[in-house]
């Protein structure tokens, strides 16, 4: 599923978060969301981040995914210190190294399932036929090849999330980050999605960092880490 050749990650943790501090400013007020956070995730690990609302789970996930920057500290993912990258380099790095699964799927409504999955590949030099083939392969992996021409409105919540997962894996990223991927689904669909994520970790050896409130979802992960007030508790 690799779209373009990319450097092999250096030996050591796939995700290495060291002494990360993240402070938000609201008017004159300073809000410290992460305070000296340290987290190491080895390659092929499936980590669940848990904690109450406002504990900093999503902020940590955003830092790992390279869509936010820490106030201080180091975030190294797949051998790259993402805090040192420029905006454009960071965007390019994200396209090659990170697959993001959102709670609300966030599919583009005017595009079919296939086109949604193909979207990240538009940034590569692949030809149209190759892009289509890879997108179809990703849809096959999530079991939705027969729904490739359907628009998001024609799919159930669980199916939409599976398309979103196909979009996340189509570029063969090193790391998958999932922000409450079952938060908007019924129990049955949630089970299917969790089984799919688990299989991506087991069969494709993807390193997965998942934020969840759901203990049953967290049980699927190899490791559970709990955050509270911006600090890892265990």
């Amino acid at each position: 599923m690799s779209a373009e050749p990319k450097p092999a990650p250096a030996a050591g943790p796939m995700v290495d978060v060291r002494k990360v501090r993240k402070v938000y400013h609201r008017d004159a007020e300073e809000i410290t969301v992460l305070d000296g956070m340290n987290l190491q995730v080895p390659p092929g690990e499936f980590v669940a981040l848990m904690g109450p609302s406002g504990s900093g789970k999503t902020t940590l996930l955003n830092l790992i995914a390279g869509i936010d920057r820490p106030t201080s500290g180091l975030v190294t993912v797949a051998g790259t210190d993402v805090t040192q990258l420029s905006e454009s380099d960071l965007a390019r790095w994200r396209s090659r190294n990170v697959g993001f699964i959102f709670q609300f799927y966030n599919l583009i409504p005017v595009l079919t399932a296939l086109e949604n999955v193909e979207l990240p590949l538009l940034l590569t030099r692949l030809g149209k036929a190759e892009r289509r083939e890879r997108a179809l392969t990703a849809l096959r992996v999530v079991g939705l090849a027969d729904r490739s021409r359907h628009y998001p409105r024609q799919l159930s919540g669980g199916q939409e999330q599976r398309v979103a997962i196909a979009r996340a894996i189509v570029g063969d990223p090193s790391v998958l980050v999932a922000d409450e991927p079952t938060g908007d689904l019924d129990a049955k669909s949630a089970e299917e999605i969790l089984a799919l994520i688990e299989s991506l970790n087991r069969d494709f050896h993807k390193t997965i960092v998942m934020v969840t409130h759901d203990p049953r979802a967290a049980e699927r992960a190899h490791v559970q880490r709990h955050l509270d007030k911006g600090v890892l508790k265990d």
């Binding site: 454009s88 390019r92 790095w93 994200r94 396209s95």
Partner: protein, 408 residues
């Protein structure tokens, strides 16, 4: 090009909004092209004016005539080479013939075949080199009181050839005769050198003033005098000198260059250039606001999608480009429709009897959508689209992913 389907699919997202925006843009470009074409035609008409010709008319209004006695006095003004009585006849082809006066004449005027026709002195042709008439035909014209010189375009339009007869009846009561319409014989056909005299309209007809004068009981004066001068740079001084001659008379005159006269004639409806440009500018600005609003709404609606694109690795500049491309696509669609509409209107104007002849009557027979005007209109549409999309696109460029995702 691989992003084009993506851009077009977004345009189809909200049909009503896209259609109304494209329609607004189309109306803007339609008005721009149409108004500019009319202006271009007016400018061409003015450009065709001869710098060494002045027009002397009644100071109060064109409605009033200038006494015939003024002709020799104008001729005597230093710097004047020649003077020609030039009277706008205002005739159109009636459905009846000379000698069969019809009390319902006014009701039977055929306005659909209206064209400019002037009663002139022989001297007029000597000072109008833009009209090229074969010498033998010109002699035949001079020797026939009912003779007419018709422009090539007019001859082609009606299929007239040398020796053909036709009738004209003026809508001006003073230019009518009891016996019925004026009968004319085509004695000469005037051509022009379009390269040397661009803008010259050959959709015009001339006949001898003497015919008009004698047929109406010798009670007429001159509509205007066309005055040829020896030095165009002295046009102002000579104009003043002519008008000074008649300053203390009942019929004071107003003398100006032919170009100024034509501009004034066209501008009787007001300052057309200012009016047309003003309308165009106001409409364009309004459409800019409408399109900008549409794009702002579209971007605001899609904040999450923009965040997703950025998360997937689309650089901010790329996302900005997609938003601008969408706005420019609106401009391209609107521009194409507007230009098509304008072209259609021009076709209708130039092919609808009555309207085309009415335009020809005021010298605007050649109103067409010029390629340059269409090109500028299309460019304006693209620029409007770009300008409308730039600010929302910049907002998309600057927005942080986490902020946009938070507004779900």
């Amino acid at each position: 090009m691989k992003f084009l389907p993506f851009v077009l699919k977004h345009l189809r997202r909200n049909w009503i909004r896209t259609t109304s925006t494209v329609a607004a843009m189309a109306i803007c470009i339609f008005l721009f092209c149409t108004l500019q074409s009319v202006l271009a035609e007016i400018n061409a008409l003015l450009a065709a004016s001869n710098a060494s010709r002045l027009i002397t008319r009644h100071a109060v209004s064109l409605v009033f005539q200038v006494p015939l006695a003024y002709g020799p006095r104008i001729q005597a003004v230093p710097g004047v080479k020649s003077v020609a009585n030039t009277t706008w006849f205002g005739g159109s082809l009636p459905a009846k013939k000379e000698g069969k006066a019809d009390p319902e004449a006014e009701a039977t005027m055929d306005w659909s075949n209206f064209f400019p026709n002037m009663a002139v002195d022989e001297a007029y042709f000597a000072m109008s080199p833009e009209f090229q008439i074969p010498p033998d035909q010109f002699q035949a014209y001079l020797q026939d009181m009912q003779g007419a010189v018709v422009g090539r375009k007019l001859a082609d339009k009606f299929g007239w050839k040398i020796g053909d007869r036709f009738f004209l009846e003026s809508f001006i009561p003073a230019y009518r005769k009891r016996e019925g319409p004026f009968e004319f014989v085509v004695r000469a056909i005037a051509d022009t050198d379009a390269a040397k005299y661009p803008g010259t309209d050959t959709g015009i007809m001339f006949f001898q003033y003497k015919y008009l004068y004698e047929s109406t009981g010798r009670r007429l004066n001159a509509g205007t005098y066309t005055v040829e001068i020896d030095d165009p740079s002295r046009a102002g001084a000579i104009s003043k000198a002519i008008d000074a001659q008649f300053e203390n008379s009942d019929a004071q005159t107003h003398t100006e260059t032919e170009q100024a006269f034509r501009a004034g004639f066209i501008a009787m409806a007001g300052n057309l250039a200012l009016l047309l440009n003003g309308i165009g500018l106001a409409v364009s600005f309004t459409i800019l606001l409408v399109t900008a609003n549409t794009m702002s709404m579209a971007v605001r609606e899609r904040r999450t999608e923009i965040a997703v694109l950025k998360t997937l690795g689309f650089p901010s500049a790329h996302v900005m480009g997609l938003v601008v491309a969408e706005a420019v696509a609106l401009g391209v669609l609107g521009g194409a429709l507007g230009i098509g509409g304008s072209q259609g209107l021009m076709w209708v104007l130039s092919n609808t009897p009555g309207i085309s002849d009415m335009l020809a009557g005021i010298g605007l027979s050649g109103v067409t959508l010029k390629p340059m005007v269409a090109a500028v209109g299309f460019l304006v549409a693209i620029l409007l689209g770009f300008a409308a999309g730039f600010v929302p696109a910049l907002s998309a460029y600057r927005s942080r992913i986490t902020d946009m995702l938070r507004t779900v």
